[in-house]
């Protein structure tokens, strides 16, 4: 119960800090953000865009973990959990893609430029889409659960290529890629300490929010399945 109030306060604080704290060239007060060359005011997206893509990966990881658990224990509840995680992952993936594209319009000049990061998030979208297509094509709960579990595990072993290897070995525009000269790995050294604090608070807030949504989602899923069994 307490963590829900905590989430509300935290997210409100993150919104206030992330949106209104000014970006100045020489940070002197505690609420000043440093000016990052090449990003300027656009840098504020980090408090909202990065957490969404972080949640995308976390959701995918959870979906895979529950898939593994389903394959080991054959408990349909685990399948509901994996499915809900994938659903939320899809939502946050779309959010990350759209916010990234809007940001890219102002930072790079076009909505979409097939930067390695954009390619990788596009591939994630495709994986989620394929997962739902597979689920809708199979009848029979257990078969569906098994097949989608296997598919999400196979997809998960290729995802590291996208998220962790490709954007780093290929040249790109996104902050943090291989030949990034103007807006280097921001998290490491370009943010000052209070920007990092707000950034990590934002990550925590989004993670708790995701956990709550996932919790509500899978519980409703389980209740629905229970009721269906009682009726039939």
């Amino acid at each position: 119960m307490a963590w829900k109030i905590f989430l509300f306060v935290l997210m409100t604080l993150v919104c206030i800090a992330g949106i209104t704290f000014p970006i100045v060239e020489e940070p002197s007060k505690w609420y000043h953000f440093p000016l990052i060359p090449g990003l300027e005011e656009n840098a504020k997206i980090i408090f909202f865009h990065v957490p969404t893509s972080w949640i995308t990966v976390i959701a995918f990881l959870m979906s895979t973990l529950y898939s593994v658990r389903y394959l080991r224990k054959k408990d349909l509840d685990d399948d509901s959990k994996a499915y809900t995680a994938a659903q939320l992952g899809m939502i946050f993936c779309i959010l990350a893609t759209v916010t990234g594209a809007v940001w890219a319009k102002f930072a790079w000049g076009s909505f979409w430029s097939w930067d390695p990061r954009q390619t990788s998030i596009f591939a994630l979208l495709l994986i989620y889409g394929a997962l739902f297509a597979l689920r809708s094509a199979v009848d029979g709960e257990e078969k569906r659960a098994t097949l989608s579990s296997v598919y999400s595990i196979i997809a998960f072993v290729t995802v590291p290529f996208f998220i962790f290897i490709m954007p780093r070995i290929m040249k790109g525009l996104h902050p943090g890629s291989a030949d990034d000269t103007n807006a280097g790995p921001i998290v490491d050294f370009k943010m000052n300490s209070n920007m990092q604090v707000v950034f990590y608070l934002s990550l925590i807030a989004f993670t708790i929010l995701y956990y709550w949504m996932w919790n509500v989602g899978y519980r409703s899923h389980i209740v629905k399945e229970k009721l269906q069994k009682q009726i039939s």
Partner: protein, 220 residues
């Protein structure tokens, strides 16, 4: 291993009897390449584009041909017999080897056609391309075999296969296109060792994941 080879032999003899791959896949390749030729017309296209088109043709040919490995067993109703006769690992190995052979012969035909029809399809460093070709083909065969196994158990088999296989094959194909470009530029093998390592890792990860997971798909 012995039963895997026996399965491979069985697939080969059924292939020779029906001549499915030779007839329809060969024709599929010819049709796709001629569509590309028609759409290009008399334009001069640059060499990188031919490299990309090559992998496009490879992808779609694999998508139309490789799903048969398991779908045909389900269609003929021999899946259950196979389940009784052999261990899942050896079934996967047999099908995988057959698909490797199929992919290699398909892609060789495509490569020969491309080098005959497109003047720009030339490599300054052929060795690098051959390396990428071999490792890439194994990767394509590995992931499409396991996806084919999933597809065979699901409904709506035809359309679902490319949908499921594309995201899995995407890292492979992107790296292959990159490598093809580099081979056309004349990079040495050690210049592109990172990309080759990525391809190799992909193969290893895919084959081991497929071995571990094939059990679950095949059992029910």
């Amino acid at each position: 291993m012995k039963s895997a080879l026996a399965l491979l032999k069985k697939d080969f003899s059924s292939e020779i009897r029906t001549r499915y791959a030779i007839n329809s896949l060969g024709m599929f390749i010819v049709v796709t390449v001629s569509v590309i030729l028609f759409s290009i017309g008399n334009e001069k296209i640059n060499e990188y584009l031919t490299g990309g088109l090559f992998w496009v043709v490879v992808f779609f040919t694999s998508m139309s041909g490789l799903s048969r490995a398991f779908v045909s067993e389900e269609e003929r109703g021999t899946a259950l017999t196979l389940q009784l006769l052999a261990k899942p690992e050896s079934i996967y190995s047999g099908k995988f080897l057959f698909n490797v052979a199929l992919v290699f012969s398909m892609n060789l035909i495509i490569a020969v056609l491309f080098s005959l029809l497109f003047e720009m399809f030339l490599f300054k460093n052929l060795l690098l391309f051959v390396f990428a070709f071999i490792v890439g083909n194994v990767g394509v065969a590995a992931s499409s075999t396991i996806i084919a196994a999933i597809i065979a158990k699901a409904g709506s088999k035809g359309t679902l296969y490319p949908v499921l296989a594309f995201p899995i094959l995407l890292p492979l194909i992107l790296t292959l296109i990159e490598l093809t470009k580099q081979a056309m530029d004349g990079n040495t093998v050690s210049d592109s060792s990172v990309e080759l390592a990525v391809l190799f890792c992909y193969d290893v990860i895919m084959i081991s994941a497929a071995y571990l997971l094939f059990d679950f798909i095949w059992k029910d």
